[in-house]
């Protein structure tokens, strides 16, 4: 059977499961007894195995199968978690990731059998005392749990519908149905494990059932079944006037159905009947009849669900919202359309401005309305594109753990704000720079254990990754409590590499010295390790972040640690901008970069080292004459006040002198293409209401 159409889904879901496993195995390392974690791991491994099997990736299946066996033993308590085992499991995950990337490239899993890993897993299995095959153990385990419920094992194993918990409203429906001469049945349907389209089969079963009666409850829920988030069976409570045999036959008539079992739902034949009756008597007429097994006593019902994986899946899974997977390209085109709309709205606004007359008050009102609609529309589309950075940062704890072992330094990663959302394209790109910074912190930042002890720091080094939203920006900080940056060392290195002279170095501020780190091929690590220090770290980080219209800043204190602060715009495509005139040309400047707008008397301008500065409320701010910078004529009179935009980058300010202010505008950023020259000052272009192109000045590059 051709499964290629499922390949994308397979890859996506496998990635999710692997990430899940990574996270949980890390947790397991901390707390080897946590049953929830173990169950979660088991479930993820089980799903992986199933998926790999379905897609025909035998090697992947074998590996996950053995992993699942190990987890199963851990769950049963016959094997204790130890660090060797965790190491082995991580190696297995790496191997699985390798399979996955091979699959992604070639649609084939490759030929690596990973025998040592499989052997290692089996060794763990064999090392446990006594007992033969895992399968048997699992069966035993299940049965053991079943016994708690006074039910015939054989029957119980199959009729999972008896585990369904019915709430009062459902009972009432059943009750009323019975009054009308219907019968309530509980049915459990098993789909063949080889079935690829479980959801479709389940749908056909539902359809068949609906022809004969009414489905009251289904476990898992209809939504989960539609999403294929169930194993190979599902159970329903069903009302019908037809005899059970007819219903079962109808279900079995659907192809790829292995079996269907059912029984009439009554309260008489259950051990809880007694309680039910008591209940009935206690609460009077309201609560009557047709309580199925265990429904009055929730505790044993829950116990029974923890015994079998599929049921657990439906209960243990957090309630998911109704979601739709959308190709990012479709969102891109939607975003483009919104951009077009905003441009045409802007041109309407400019037309409205040029039409004089009293009759257009209404017209203006409509324009304003349109304006608010387009702004909201843009915001909504933007939100759709936002994803939490979680998916990207989740892989870091594992990476730090591996680094810790490799570098033989004890360290711990603390993360906050994983739910901070950013544009999808930004989230995809930000992973590598963050990884660089974390590696940097681990390798260069944190000191060795001896030095830490000398300095009175805790033995375990701490690395922090904090993300939060700040206005229209998202800030991600990577912080460590390590050595900090040794500025003298940086300067010496720069001199050694011939980047600066001794004199320059002496004049340099700390900040300028730190900026040296972001230059290409600059590494201060004395020993080049394979973790970092190849001299291609920070400059790549910087250029990547700047490509995302972000900025990076460093704060450091020798001996105490350093913080790398990354500031990223929430969205890339549409920004609020201030429109200004310089010379006779219009330019846009991102509003986010501008702090205040000042009117400055030319007499207040002082000269320091040949540079024009102003003293603004105690701050000395250097002026940037945009007209000179952009090769334009001075068109203002000497004594006229200057319009100065105070822009801020990190903790540095600059005053940008413009000739005229036009106003605030929502602009769509358009790329200019590679042929337009690579001017650092210009970060893009936008189309104005009248169809003219205005360039966007990058305030960051001006400071």
């Amino acid at each position: 059977m051709d499964v290629s159409q499922y390949l994308d889904i397979f890859i996506d879901e496998t990635k999710e499961h692997l990430q899940n496993l990574n996270t949980h195995i890390l947790e397991l390392e901390q707390d080897g007894e946590n049953m929830d974690t173990i169950n979660e791991i088991f479930r993820a491994a089980h799903s992986l195995k199933g998926m790999a099997g379905t897609m025909g990736y035998k090697r992947m299946q074998t590996l996950t199968h053995d992993m699942e066996n190990v987890f199963s033993e851990v769950r049963n308590g016959t094997i204790k978690v130890n660090s060797d085992m965790i190491d082995l499991l991580f190696k297995c995950l790496d191997a699985l990731e390798e399979y996955l990337s091979t699959i992604q490239e070639t649609a084939d899993e490759g030929t690596n059998d990973n025998e040592p890993l499989v052997k290692g897993l089996n060794d763990i299995l064999n090392s446990k005392n006594g007992s033969g095959k895992t399968e048997e153990k699992k069966e035993e385990k299940k049965e053991e749990k079943k016994k708690k419920k006074a039910k015939a094992e054989e029957n119980k194993l199959k009729e999972k519908w008896r585990d369904i918990k019915l709430d009062d409203s459902v009972k009432k429906v059943i009750e009323e149905g019975v009054k009308k001469g219907f019968k309530a049945y509980g049915i459990t349907v098993y789909i063949q494990e080889s079935c690829l389209l479980k959801a479709a089969r389940a749908f056909l079963v539902f359809k068949a059932l609906e022809e004969l009666g009414e489905i009251i409850v289904s476990i898992p829920s209809a939504q989960d079944i539609e999403d294929e988030s169930f194993e190979f069976d599902f159970s329903v409570i069903f009302m019908s006037e037809h005899p059970l045999e007819k219903i079962i036959d109808a279900v079995k008539f659907v192809s790829e159905i292995q079996d269907a079992v059912g029984d009439e739902v009554t309260f008489e034949n259950e051990e809880s009947a007694q309680e039910t009756k008591e209940d009935k008597e206690g609460t009077g007429k309201e609560e009557t009849q047709t309580l199925p097994a265990k429904s009055t006593d929730t505790a044993p019902a829950q116990k029974s669900t923890s015994g079998n994986a599929p049921e657990k899946k439906s209960t243990g899974k957090p309630v998911v919202n109704r979601t739709v997977r959308v190709d990012i390209e479709k969102l891109d085109s939607l975003m483009n359309l919104v951009s077009e709309l905003i441009i045409s709205k802007n041109s309407l606004v400019s037309v409205a401005g040029s039409v004089v007359g009293s009759s257009n008050i209404q017209f203006n009102e409509q324009i304003e309305y349109l304006e608010s609609v387009t702004t909201n529309l843009h915001e909504s589309v933007m939100k759709v594109r936002m994803v939490p950075i979680e998916n990207t940062v989740n892989k870091f704890p594992r990476m730090i753990r591996d680094l810790s072992k490799k570098l033989d330094k004890k360290m711990e990663l603390y993360m906050t704000g994983e739910d901070t959302e950013l544009d999808r394209t930004v989230v995809d790109e930000i992973g590598d720079p963050l990884m660089h910074l974390l590696r940097n912190s681990a390798d260069h930042g944190l000191e060795s254990a001896e030095i830490r002890a000398e300095r009175g720091k805790p033995e375990v080094g701490s690395i922090f990754l904090d993300a939060y939203q700040d206005g229209n920006n998202v800030v991600i900080e990577v912080r460590d409590d390590g050595n900090g940056i040794d500025i003298e060392k940086v300067k010496n290195k720069a001199i050694e590499k011939g980047k600066i002279t001794r004199e320059q170095a002496d004049l340099m501020s700390d900040k300028e010295a730190i900026d040296l780190l972001f230059q290409p091929s600059f590494s201060t690590a004395e020993v080049v390790s394979d973790v970092s220090g190849r001299g291609v770290g920070l400059d790549v980080v910087k250029s990547k972040i700047e490509a995302l219209s972000g900025e990076i800043d460093v704060k450091t204190k020798l001996g105490e640690g350093s913080t790398f602060i990354i500031r990223l715009p929430l969205t890339l495509a549409i920004i609020q901008a201030l429109m200004v005139v310089v010379g006779n040309e219009k330019y846009a400047i991102s509003l986010g970069a501008i702090q205040t707008i000042e009117s400055i008397n030319p007499n207040d301008i002082k000269k320091v080292q040949g540079k024009e500065v102003i003293n603004l409320r105690g701050n000395v701010i250097s002026l940037v004459r945009l007209n000179r910078l952009l090769d334009l004529e001075d068109c203002r009179k000497e004594d006229q006040d200057l319009i100065v935009l105070i822009a801020k980058k990190g903790d540095r300010y600059a005053g940008l002198v413009v000739d005229e202010l036009i106003g605030q505008m929502e602009i769509v950023i358009k790329p200019m293409g590679k042929y337009a020259g690579s001017c650092k000052l210009i970060s893009g272009a936008t189309i104005l209401g009248d169809g003219e192109v205005a360039l966007i000045l990058d305030a960051n590059a001006l400071i």
Partner: protein, 150 residues
Amino acid sequence: MEELALNVEVTQYIKIRLGDEYFGIDIKYVDNIVRMQHITRVPKAPSYVKGVINLRGEVIPVFSLRLKMGLDEIEENKYFRIIILKVEGESVGIIVDEVREVANVSSDDVEKVYHNVSDGIQNFLSGVGKTDSGLISLLDINEVLADKTL
């Protein structure tokens, strides 16, 4: 004719004028031909980059073919056109003095020219084609768009 066509390929060129010389641009690169419009200057760009224009919502850089080929600029007149080229997904406009017609040039009517550093304009040519209405110099678009001037 059928048999003849086996080895002879006919390529269509847009025939343009620059001063009193005619050049051909392979039609496969040509996306559009538009009249002159407002061009927004891009500061700090090479001199031959005249700026950017808005072409149906896209921002496209525009080159002066005259400056690129080392000729002097002349005053804009009504024959000026911007030819929008699309090369490897990137759009770029080039300003020419005039667009004349589409010329069919068969491959056996093309004389190769050999690039020679000192040859000036020849560096931008892929060959010279003979047509009924005279000779046209065939432009090598990749060379024209490369970051260099004469």
